[in-house]
Symmetry: D2
Subunit: 358 residues, 4 copies
């Protein structure tokens, strides 16, 4: 069976497993104040070119989203999101669980459009009843989006400008950030992101870690007391070192000995994290090209590790004998949109075998 | 340096690391629906003699406490706890974050006394203004307690009876449960706990896992939709298998090959989990005896892995050159109470070296 | 100046003021357990033909919405609403403040369509990730809607059927219910509403009271411990009698002596509450006819006390010299939609004067 | 029957009823932005000698407490209260409903002691695990307390100093403030309170209004966006004028014509509000003297409108034939403590009749 249904099927990059094993009996204090976490933080700050950034490690994306949004909002504010935003659909109301409203704007290719955001904020600001309405306080976007699409650097700059105009903070959900940074034609770099966002996270779970998301606040003042807020959210890992180890390994130079650690200052593009991303993107592009060559239509132009292919029911049934994937939706013309996902650990042989089935 | 400051300094039992490494590239679905999690659940149900139990894996204790309490309470109810309960002090308000009130009762040796609970509930039930007051809905206890003390089987039965009399559910925080089950003179077994509690958890983080708490609802109806509530709490691990692997290994027969898995049905007392507990208890007892032999007073009689020793400031200063431990409090007589903790992985040599320093 | 901007500009029906004055020094217990509240409850049950109903009095609509929704939802559920629902826009996130998510469906003429609700629930129920998604648990509608439109009896029956099919409860926000019951061509009666809804409220604030909303749960089991939940929401009035007095007067026979109280059993259509509604509707219809006669287009066909008229900016400017009203929105064709509201206390002379200005 | 069970049995001061009736058909905008509310705010600012203060009107004490505490706390903080504080007992968890923890300190005569507060904050600040613990952010006290006792001006100054030392804000629940200001031997004035507290409220419900609490933030910056937060709490009254009318009348010169309004600048001690307080205090003192003269012990020395008398069961049974009052508690010696409450409207004849029964 070939597996293309998600990017969190396997464990972790072997260098992580190796380091966990090698350091298993080290004794360190808990809650992320150990030297390994500090090393990982230093590596991330360097890769982000954000030397002052506050960096916190959380276990998963839903808790990271809820905690950061809770941190950035003032009591009378809510978070603006595309209606397709992950926080609005598949997080079981975790943002609302902490008393926060999600202000929805219809998406465009899975993205929150800067002009739409500006129009929304202007309508709120001009409304006669604005004091009765949740104020837009944070703009939430995912990079790449839930649809596999990507914000260009220009689009991010436009969102930043809209946020500045209306006093919003910008938060970027980077659950799959590695696949955005390594995407075909990507224009945004990690330092760009650190320059433009008030907070973002570097997703580990889907890009080579067992688990873990590194939340970055480029301006540490915005992270005031964030550790206690994390605890209030049940989002502090007791043996915090386990998160430090993973991000330390991911932000080493690709190819470095996982136990030695190598040079502490590695630019983003040379890290194991980006290497993981590039691996997935290369195979995703090969997959897309193969589908096209076999006469299939792609539902949207995706430069990342999720590819959406249009198929008949019969195709789906036949492929299901040999591979796992997710049926995304049925189009108006009756045909199905099917999602194939590659990851940091997808084998090229698996892609070849899948394409051979077409 | 000798480390006796907590039971979560190191990584995991080597069998866990071994199994994580061996299965790293297995491909399984996320969120705990995989076969490894199912195997771990079956082992836990067997060890608890609770064949119908719902078993859910969470990453940490604070999130487990908040989610289970949220699950068990009805909207007008609160959770009764000893004032020394972990939820009331060191969880940054995580229970209240979900709109729930903690109803405090003064502790007795760190414990919630059944007679006190009964009196509290009776006072509420008879109050003229009871409809203006948060109703007691869940009783929360820790076994062992935050003070290292232990509820006897009789005490648990009495709490159960008090809960039944007033319609409360009983929830047991088992962050250190392995050390309660293996304690010197323990009268409560795991099947006892499953018979008496409406929900409890088997703490992994402090008893040999990298992280993880296995929440058990002996009556699965009480766990209705608990997965979605976990998600709402940000308490679902994407690669749920990582939790399954750890509890599967911990509930194997002690000494079994961590990768083979061994017989699926292992009574609690023969599991690796209990073996971990016994290791810590043996060394804690040795430590206590050593302190006594050296003329030290023990602040309380602890049958578990936390020992509280009375010392002068000068003793503390001197020992601090060689060992880490926590100063718990200053007594009325001016002397200090100091906590020494052993764990599943404490080396006997470290205990001997510490005692040699006295 | 003529005032047509809202239906809560004045105080209360004179019979209410009269009764408050006459009973001012009566001494009764607080919190709604007095005899006057009981009398008002009995009148409401009779008018609703719901002899078992639980009736609770709250001060305002936002607190009533938040408390009832909190009461009716289970922890993993959310409330479905048209995107134009009052709870979704002008209540500052009060529903989310208690940890609840609003699940939005695009409106049709301000209404939640039963087929749309059914499709939404079906999509949720069939979703592969439904356990990660907030479940639809309550359907919220306003009768009349925020747009002045009305659900017909058939439409309500269809919503009820959709709720039954998917296990939802139906909650009707009746902030302006008097104007729905008295609307031109209304097909729904108060007993119909009590038969079809799981909870609804009879709005006093906008239909002749100083303040107050009477929440009705036709099945009292759904109101279990609702008083304590109200208190938790800060929604209990200490001198509860003040609410009882107002609803007692509103549900007397129209024309009865406000201090004597009259016969205790008055059908809905003969109450002062309905008389208040009819007064406003009559003038709203006269207003609409007058605008049409003067050549104005009405933006939508409203059978209730809110009329939406299409105007040029110049018209608006000119009218503003003489009258207050709300500019609702600018249409795509550049013209403005303007709202004129009548109430239980609008004077016919004011309507005539306004029409004379056209 | 003589009623001494609470101070909210009757309606409102006749001048309030008179003004409500006289202005019933006035047309004003909603939500507290009308001229009457502005007039009431100006009167309150003058009486407080706090010309910059932000003043907001809420309907009841529970919602005022929850909203102000929510406003004053930062996300990682909680509110310190005596364990006997009203928010901790009889408000059904309204503070926790918004995610806030109450940090309890044992009371001394119903009061929060400044030294205890200082010790609590110091222990928190010095704690090794302080980042895991809810930080003290607001100190909540009631003036007078739930036990009828009073903070002296010195005690308030000491609390203020403790708050300043540890960065807390001070919030005073004044549900019965009129009875504190008029108490026998009172040393605190309304301007003192406005100088010392960061927020407080002037209780109307128990001191002559139908309902209503005027929240005062002497520094208006602390009230930033408080209106929207009130709305989020369901605590905005649509016909806000009704609150304005009541406080406008209460802060007029005592004896002024309720409809004319009189001079706009009235010092606190000359207001109708203080006159209401003095009336109740005079009768409470008479009641206390009468009980003492008849040989009864008073459980505590109360200078306010609540008197606590020690009685045998037989006394209680006999008095219950003629009067209503609340049995407060049974003392260790088996005798009962019984509460008698006077109010702004208690008749001297009723006191005389009660005393004649002894």
């Amino acid at each position: 069976m070939l597996h293309f249904d998600s990017d969190y099927l396997e464990g972790a990059h072997p260098a992580i497993i190796e380091r966990l094993a090698a350091t298993n009996f080290d004794q360190t204090p808990g809650y992320g104040v150990d030297a390994v976490c500090e090393s990982a933080r230093a590596r991330i700050r360097f890769a982000c070119q954000a030397p002052q950034a506050a960096v916190h490690f959380l276990v998963g994306g839903t808790q990271a989203n809820a905690a950061v949004i809770d941190q950035l909002l003032r009591p009378w504010e809510g978070v603006v999101s595309a209606d397709t935003g992950h926080i609005n659909g598949h997080e079981a109301g975790a943002v609302e669980a902490h008393g926060r409203k999600i202000l929805q704007i219809p998406h465009r290719n899975g993205k929150l459009d800067a002009a739409d955001l500006r129009a929304y904020c202007a309508a709120w600001a001009e409304g006669e009843s604005r004091d009765h309405v949740v104020a837009p306080g944070v703009a939430y976007i995912s990079q790449p989006t839930e649809y596999g699409t990507l914000y260009s650097l220009d689009e991010l700059e436009a969102l930043r400008a809209a946020c500045d105009e209306f006093g919003l903070r910008l938060f970027v959900d980077g659950a799959r950030l590695g696949y955005a940074l390594a995407a075909a034609g990507a224009t945004m770099t990690l330092p760009d992101l650190a320059r433009l966002a008030d907070a973002f996270y570097i997703g580990g779970t889907k890009v080579g870690a067992l688990f873990g998301e590194a939340v970055v606040f480029p301006d540490p003042q915005l992270a005031d007391h964030f550790f206690t807020l994390m605890k209030k959210h049940g989002a502090v890992l007791a043996k915090g070192r386990m998160l430090g180890v993973q991000f330390d390994v991911l932000f080493e130079e690709d190819g470095a000995d996982g136990c030695a650690g190598g040079t502490p200052q590695v630019p983003a593009e040379r890290t194991r994290y980006l290497a993981n991303g590039r691996h997935a993107i290369g195979l995703a592009q090969k997959l897309a090209a193969g589908f096209r060559a076999a006469g299939y239509e792609l539902a949207m132009e995706s430069p990342t590790n999720q590819q959406f292919v249009v198929m008949d029911d019969a195709d789906v049934e036949r492929l299901r004998q040999h591979a796992t994937f997710e049926v995304w939706e049925r189009r108006a013309d009756g045909r199905l949109v099917v999602r194939f996902v590659t990851s940091w650990t997808t084998r090229e042989e698996a892609v070849d075998e899948l394409l051979a089935l077409l």
